[in-house]
Amino acid sequence: MNDLGGYSVRADALASTEKLHKRSIGARVWSWRYIVLRRIVQVGVLLLFIGTAHWAWQYPAKTPFLSGNLSASKFIGLIPMADPFATLQIFLTGHVLQQEVLIGTAIIFGFYLLLGGRVFCAWVCPVNMVTDLAGWLRTKLDIRAIVHLPRSVRYFILAAALVLSAVTGVAAFEWVSPVGMMHREIIFGIGFGFLALLAIFLFDLLILKNGWCGHFCPLGAFWSLVGKAGLVKVRFDKTNCTHCGECAKVCPEPQVLNLKKIEERGMVFSGECSNCGRCTALCPEGSLAFDLRPLIRKHNARAEQSAV
């Protein structure tokens, strides 16, 4: 047994890793399912916006299908949606918000409150495609870290965004947000936003792993705080986990997979988990899987009983 950072590497853990490396091509492709699904959702959302803005997609007749962008939008002329973080900043500038944007905010806030806040990050946010690419390339090229930053920096940036909105009288993050830039410029025409994205890509690739999404983005920080209460969680079944650590290797927020802590709760409870599904698709023992929060306790109790 080798001692490795507090956890002893067990024989069955090595076996798990080996199992993972030797899996068939079919199993390999199957393990990409969430990545493929996420890309479909991300591109799909973008496509609905682009189609409405450029090709005048309408439903019902003469009503824009999905008009606007991720800051605020309207679906089939009926359902308003709005980014709660953006409206919070606008609220702090002292502007009295109109009813429609408030309803839209409530809808989106409720949606992610149920689903888990950072579902937005992994499944909708377009910048995620850029940072995922940078992260994947970084692993392929085996680029070592040159700086370390605490991941809590994003919460300070979040606080600063709110304070500065009140001080300057403009929504502080919305005016510099690369998320907004990318989405707007894909839908409404190109400016120089791609330079900001290039900067993020290079920063993530060469300087700090998961730099933007994992350390800086205040929108992600906002959804992390909301996401604690989410209903869809990654269930952790300690009975068959061999502590091989493969999940933490692919996780963009590995601190949420602290095995000691998630053993107690039976799930990945941190709001910083974006439900990207990398770990669940990869886990060689099937210890990690998506589940609804109320069902997790029952499932784990049953698993423990059958293990005894």
């Binding site: 800051s71 308003p80 502007h95 839209g104 600063a160 919305e174 907004g180 707007r184 409404f188 936003g193």
Partner: protein, 259 residues
């Protein structure tokens, strides 16, 4: 004791470092915001837009007004350009605002940055048409008056003034913009036939002066008369018993008698 002072020192240094980071980052951020917000004073906003400062605060940069515009007049400003990032604007020389009576852009706005208080599109004030008198064909003495003919509020927003000339020449017809009716839609700017438009739309703050409230234009009917200019009447002298003042002899006929 020594250990405690070291940890206190550590704490103070950490706190100072944190504060310095926050202050540097915050100042940089504020600088960026200010640069961006004052980027360009010439931006023309959609009908019903709040004043520039309130508009900057309220616009959520969603582009629903852009989607709703049937003439593709409105655009969202890209990042890094001359205009404040992500907000709607239009360039009348390319596509002017055609003044839809149902104001779809204003209705699409979820935040009220395009104010729903605008009920009649003719009451919108997106900017003000300004004529370059030196290059306006009509002011040069040619018959043009295209801006007047194209103006959706012709006769109100743009009027023509006739100035007869010598017998061998036709009269001059000067287009005049009236700010109380001009919506700033820019149809005149689009229609102007000169190489560079001789009539163009500018934000009110760029072109409009303010007379000040102390001027009274007594000859206009609209001017409220606040003072009556009655001739000065000396107060009646208080009755007194004192003898009348002594008069210089020899002067009486000048002071008392009629000439």
């Amino acid at each position: 004791m020594a250990e405690q002072s070291v940890s206190r020192r550590d704490f103070l240094v950490k706190a100072a470092q944190g504060t310095a980071m926050a202050a540097t980052g915050g100042l940089l951020w504020v600088y960026l915001l200010r640069q961006e917000a004052r980027a360009h004073p010439f931006a023309l906003r959609p009908p019903g837009a709040l004043t520039e400062k309130d508009f900057n605060a309220a616009c959520i940069k969603c582009g629903q007004c852009v989607v709703s515009c049937p003439y593709d007049t409105l655009k969202l400003a890209g990042s890094g350009g001359d205009l404040p990032i992500g907000m709607p604007y239009f360039e009348p020389r390319k596509i002017p605002c055609y003044l839809c009576p149902d104001i779809p852009c204003m209705k699409a706005c979820p935040t009220g940055a395009l104010s729903p208080e605008l009920k009649n599109i003719n009451d919108s004030r997106m900017g003000l048409a300004v004529i370059d008198l030196e290059n306006c064909l009509s002011w040069k003495g040619l018959r043009c008056e295209i801006c007047h003919r194209e103006c959706p509020l012709k006769g109100k927003a743009i009027t023509l003034e006739m100035h007869p000339r010598q017998l061998s020449k036709h009269a001059m017809f000067y287009p005049i913009v009236n700010s109380d009716a001009c919506t700033g839609c820019g149809i005149c700017e689009k229609a102007c036939p000169t190489t560079e438009a001789a009539i163009r739309i500018l934000p009110h703050s760029m072109v409009q002066g303010k007379i000040g409230e102390h001027y009274r234009l007594g000859w206009t009917f609209e001017t409220e008369i606040t003072q009556d200019f009655k001739p000065y009447e000396a107060p009646a002298p208080a009755p007194s018993d004192a003898p009348p003042p002594k008069k210089a002899p020899g002067m009486d006929y000048l002071n008392e008698g009629g000439l």
